[in-house]
Structures are given as C-alpha cells and as structure tokens.
C-alpha cells in the first residue's frame, strides 16, 4: 500500500516537473535546485531520526504492546498505551494489526484508541525534525496538546462504543 502511494507520488511530481519544464524551463530548473538544497539540509536531522527510531524499536519493541496490554483492561493500561504510542513510531501496517490483536485479547476500547491516537499524533522521536522546521515552542505545544487530545478521544470513544 505504502509502496503504491509512494510510486504515485513520484509519478505526480515527475509529471509536474515535465509540465513546469514545458511552460518555463528556467523555473523548473530553479525548483529542482531548491528541492535538492532542501533535501541536503534535511539530511542530518532525518538521519538522526532514523538512528533514534532504530534504538527505540530495539529497546521498546512493538511486541511489548501485546505482551503487556493485551489482558489488562484498566486505566493504567490505557495510560501505558498512550505513553507507549507517544514514544514510538510504528508504521500503520504494523500498528493496526497489533491494535486489533490486543483488542481481541481483552484490552479496552480506550486503551486501543489511546494507543492509535498518540502513536499518530504525538511524535517524540520525530521531534528533532519538527523542531528544525517548526521551532521548539510550536513543537512542544503541538505535542502536549495532541497528547491531551488523544486522552480525551480515548475517553469519548470508550463511552460511545461501550
């Protein structure tokens, strides 16, 4: 799925460059140069994220979520799921089957919703990139508010889907 979408993105961007080239070659050249420069500038922070993700995946493996949260349906499990989701960066292809499996094993709606919400909305490992582009204050605000929002979302879902 991700591969198909990525290919689609490449094709769209290439197509856009062809159109741009036909309309104004000079502009297309400048756009490509700017893109290359942006890529070069992004490389250090993106590479450090890659290394951090590797370390997090090794020391806080995704299997923990099934091992520790599958049976417990209490509030602590929900809090742990929220924190776990905030700290890690698991692709949806892996995370959603994981979420479904802990749900089957007895985790509450709140726990699953908190996990999916913080996993997607809060990014501790991607914070270096967010700080680089958005600045520290905005990064901290967005992540803290998103964490709180994820908890509220989990609570509402637990009540509605009971």
């Amino acid at each position: 799925m991700q591969i198909v979408l990525t290919r689609f993105l490449w094709i769209v961007v290439l197509g856009a460059y062809v159109v741009s080239w036909l309309k104004a070659p000079e502009k297309a050249k400048r756009a490509a140069r700017a893109g290359l420069m942006g890529l070069a500038k992004a490389a250090p922070v993106m590479l450090s994220i890659v290394v951090i993700i590797g370390l997090v995946m090794a020391f806080v493996p995704p299997e923990w979520i099934t091992r520790y949260l599958g049976h417990d349906a209490g509030l602590w499990a929900t809090a742990a799921a929220a924190i776990f989701g905030a700290l890690t960066l698991i692709p949806c292809m892996v995370a959603l089957p994981l979420a479904a499996s802990i749900f089957r094993e007895g985790a509450s709606v709140a726990t699953v919703a908190a996990f999916i919400s913080t996993l997607t909305m809060v990014g501790v490992v991607t914070a270096p990139a967010e700080i680089k582009y958005m600045g520290k204050p905005l990064t901290i605000w967005r992540n803290v508010l998103s964490f709180l929002a994820a908890i509220v979302i989990a609570g509402v879902m637990a009540v509605v889907l009971r």
Partner: protein, 181 residues
C-alpha cells in the same frame, strides 16, 4: 561544540549513542541496525519527491493565492482545504514538517497549518480505511470525527498562545535572504 555546525551536532550525538550501545547490548544493537535500515529505505523513497514538490510550490504558487485560500481570513473554506490537504497526504509524519514550514512561509495561518499537521498525522484516508478493516467501521469513523474536532481545538489554542513564536525558523529549502521575492 562551537566549531561543529549546528546541523551536524544531533547526528553526531546519536551516532555516538549507537556506537556505545552496540558493544553493550549486541542483540539489541543488531535489531536497532536492522530497524534503522528499514526506515532509511522508506525515507530515501519518500523525501526526494517531497522536497522536489516543495521546490515547485515555492516557484509556482504565489503567496497571494496561499494567503487568500489558507491565510488568516480564509475562514471555514481554509479550514476545510487544510484538513483535506492533510488527509489525502502520502507519507509519514516527518515528511509533513517541511511542507508545513513552506505553507507557513507562504502565508498560511498557524491555525490552518496545525489542522493540516493533525489531519496528516491521524486522519489520513488510507490509514482510516485500514483501521476500518482491523477495528471496525464504527471505531475508525468515530476516531476520524474526533480527530477533526481535536484538530480544531489544538489549532485554536496554538493560534492564541503560540502565534508570536512562528517566525524564527529558517525556510524548508532556501536561506532567508534569498526568499524575499
């Protein structure tokens, strides 16, 4: 630390961390290496088109247009466009930040940028479809609805409290000096 360029400091720090971890915990070190390689591959595929697209946007999309449709006075329409832009997006969260920066620089309001980021993070359509398969349609749609609501609240709070802190960051692709056009 002064001599090392700021850009390179973080990567040197994590590289050192990695080198320290490897001998102390070889098993985890190997897992970490393999996981990093996976993510590196993903990044190598997704980041080039993202930045080349940003390059095109910088060249072709005039600031006045962005201001009109996504700026402070864009209203409900601006909100809807931002939410849709985020939810049809392809790619992981780290690819969203350079886009968000470009949107801000072109005159998008902080409110709309935060809506865009939140929807990119938690409201992507392909993800919601997959979620419906695994967790049920009811679960997925309810979470999507709540995410839209949350994006409004988060964006509103940030617009009120953090607006003065928007400016300080350099642009996603070029240096500030050359960007006044």
């Amino acid at each position: 630390m002064k001599r090392i360029p700021k850009e390179l400091r973080s990567i040197i720090m994590v590289a050192v961390l990695f080198v320290v971890v490897m001998p102390l915990a070889p098993a985890q070190g190997r897992v970490a290496g393999a996981a990093s390689l996976e993510y590196l591959k993903e990044m190598a595929l997704i980041l080039p088109p993202v930045f080349f697209l940003i390059g095109l946007l910088e060249m072709w999309v005039p600031r006045s247009m962005v201001e009109k449709y996504l700026g402070r006075k864009s209203g409900i329409a601006g909100f809807v466009i931002s939410a849709l832009l985020g939810s049809v997006a392809v790619g992981p969260m780290y690819a969203a930040f350079p886009f968000a920066r470009t949107l801000l620089d072109k005159g998008t309001s902080l409110f709309n940028v935060v809506v865009f980021l939140t929807m990119w993070a938690a409201g992507k359509i392909p993800t919601v479809m997959m979620e419906a398969k695994f967790m049920g349609v009811e679960f997925a749609l309810l979470r999507l609805g709540l995410t839209v609501a949350a994006s409004v609240v988060i964006a509103w709070v940030m617009q009120r409290l953090a607006s003065p802190q928007v400016s300080a960051q350099p642009s996603a692709i070029e240096d500030r000096v050359s960007r006044n056009s």
